[in-house]
């Protein structure tokens, strides 16, 4: 009796698990299938495998949607901001974690509070204007870096405390200065946590839509998200093309997720589990 109940409960559990996964995957599947459909075929976005896959959709989208340029813009913004934020946040976290003076503790808490704070895009406009950063890729890249810093510092700070400080002292006695100590000895040891923040920040910058909406007004500076949104506005009736556009924009993120899932999950759950 009890084993019968166990089997029944196991079966139910597994069926529910499969249903949940299917519900999650369906939207992905619909988009991929319809990105190969003809315009008429994608009219009602359904789960049909197109008879003749329309690879040309992708060619059309890349040309009409200006995706090559948008891809380059997205890459520039994401890579630049991630490089700047990662190096600066790692350096700061190292010193904040090792030298817990009163001032440093205040600085740490001020930075980490940023995880909770919203960006005031309106007031920020004034500062961006002042610094001549409005409508520049450089400015938006710096902004992304600034936004990434609080979470980066939070994660790296915790990781640094797991590296024994005796290492620093030994290096110092061997004649290393601060820069050699940090970049030669500490930086390589931070690799796991840096991988996590690089992946998360890259995905964050790649996916962002609000910042360019506020600060980039010339179309040639638009990243993928804004290009896709604009394309969607113009081609709303051509769902096959919109789908192809969506696939191309999402592909890099999915690739990173598949390659670095362990790090991404670790980073995104770290804050919640460790508290």
């Amino acid at each position: 009796m009890s084993s019968y109940r166990n089997v029944a409960s196991l079966a139910t559990k597994n069926i529910v698990a499969i249903l949940l996964s299917v519900v999650t995957l369906l939207p992905f599947l619909v988009v991929v299938l319809n990105s190969f459909a003809t315009q008429a075929g994608a009219d009602a976005m359904q789960l049909h495998i197109p008879k003749v896959p329309q690879w040309s959709n992708y060619a059309v989208v890349i040309q009409q949607g200006g995706l090559v340029n948008a891809f380059v813009q997205s890459m520039l913004l994401s890579c630049f901001s991630v490089a700047v934020a990662t190096v600066l946040a790692a350096m700061a976290s190292f010193v904040l974690s090792r030298n817990g003076s009163r001032t440093n503790r205040v600085i740490y808490y001020l930075i980490v509070t940023g995880i909770a704070l919203p960006v005031n895009y309106v007031a920020l406009m004034k500062i961006m204007q002042l610094l001549h950063l409005v409508n520049t890729t450089f400015g938006v890249g710096l902004l992304y870096a600034a936004v990434q810093i609080p979470f980066d510092v939070f994660l790296v700070y915790g990781f640094v405390s797991s590296i024994p400080a005796e290492l620093d002292e030994a290096a110092f006695i061997d004649g290393a200065n601060a820069l050699t100590l940090f970049f030669r000895v500490i930086f390589p040891l931070l690799k796991p946590v840096l991988t996590t923040i690089v992946l998360l920040s890259f995905i964050g910058a790649w996916n962002d839509f609000v910042t360019p909406l506020y600060y980039l007004n010339s179309a040639k500076k638009w990243p993928m998200t804004l290009a896709v949104y604009n394309f969607f506005g113009q081609y709303q009736s051509s769902w096959n093309l919109v789908c192809a556009d969506v696939v191309l924009t999402t592909l890099p993120v999915i690739a990173l997720y598949l390659a670095g899932q362990r790090y991404i999950v670790a980073g995104m759950t770290a804050g919640a589990v460790k508290g």
Partner: protein, 301 residues
């Protein structure tokens, strides 16, 4: 001797942990993140707008406008709170139920985990565009499936019907976020030592007794952080609503940040900034409490 040693230690500290290591991060974060937020408090007492180069001090005029009954701003604030409360509650509960269910006895558990986690890495923009299609009343996949399985009466104008549009938006948000919370809870569940359950079983505790007396109390730290993170996300929601309904039908799904963008686009900077500042102050307070709680836990540990 001792004094000398500690003096030496101090000078070494200054040499290998130099303050200039902080400069880059501090300057960038303060200039582009913290200062705008604080500057915003000042601007919210002015009549800053796109049509005049001069800013005048107007006292509480912007806030009086925001909190007056004759305007719609209170309704947008209420919407923001409703969105935050509903999505936080539903995601927290669903995530927990899924996690409890999938914690043991599931074939290919890691595959399910990867799949259920995946929507969180998608951009809100893409999610919004895809669900605009899925929720289309005439041709969308959701209504088609409902009709195919004989539930035609449930088919609805998801994003257009004034009674359900806001809930549809929340539903999409739940689709995107519930799996992420589930993974957090799964990690928390795995950290609970099985000896607790063994002890409870010896005491003759049933499933719900174990859930109530062992699992939930030990999972509480994760639950609290998850709730706080979701509140922080809900209050600043923008993309998903902008893309799905752009505040419509009418202004029924308008929230603080969609209004901020609209006012900003129309050049009404002072008002947009005042709304943004309200949000900043509320979230700064939450952030402050959060940091204090975290700090206390570290001290305790």
């Amino acid at each position: 001797m001792k004094v000398q040693a500690s003096g030496k230690r101090k000078s070494m500290k200054a040499k290998i942990y130099p303050a200039y290591f902080l400069l880059g991060a501090v300057i960038l974060y303060f200039a582009l993140y913290l200062v705008p937020g604080i500057l915003g408090i000042y601007f919210s007492f002015t009549n800053w707008n796109a049509y005049s180069s001069k800013m005048h001090f107007v006292g509480f005029q912007n806030f009086v406008k925001i909190f007056s009954i004759g305007e719609n701003y209170l309704f947008y604030i209420k919407n923001t709170l409703l969105f935050t409360a509903v999505t936080t509650a539903v995601k927290t509960v669903l995530g927990l139920v899924f996690a409890l269910m999938l914690n043991t006895g599931i074939a290919a558990k890691s595959v399910h985990r990867s799949v259920l986690f995946s929507p969180v890495i998608l951009s809100f923009l893409i999610t919004g565009i895809v669900f605009r299609s899925i929720l289309n009343p005439a041709t969308g996949m959701l209504n088609t499936i409902l009709r195919d399985i004989g539930l035609a009466p449930l088919a609805a104008s998801w994003l257009v019907d004034p009674h359900i549009a806001f809930f549809s938006v929340m539903g999409v948000d739940v689709w995107k976020g519930a799996g992420y919370l589930m993974v957090i809870y799964l990690a928390g569940l795995q950290a609970i030592p099985s000896t607790y359950y063994d002890a409870a079983a010896i005491d003759g505790a049933g499933y719900f007794q174990r859930l109530w007396n062992v699992t939930l109390p030990l999972l509480m730290p994760s639950i609290v952080v998850v709730v706080v993170l979701n509140i922080l996300y809900g209050l600043r929601v923008f993309d998903i609503i902008y893309v799905l309904t752009n505040g419509g039908p009418g202004n029924l799904t308008e929230v603080i940040n969609t209004v901020v963008f609209e006012q900003f686009s129309q050049g009404a900077y002072a008002l947009a900034n005042s709304l943004s500042t309200l949000l900043f102050l509320v979230m700064a307070a939450i952030g402050f409490l959060l940091i204090r709680a975290m700090n206390r836990r570290i001290v305790q540990a």
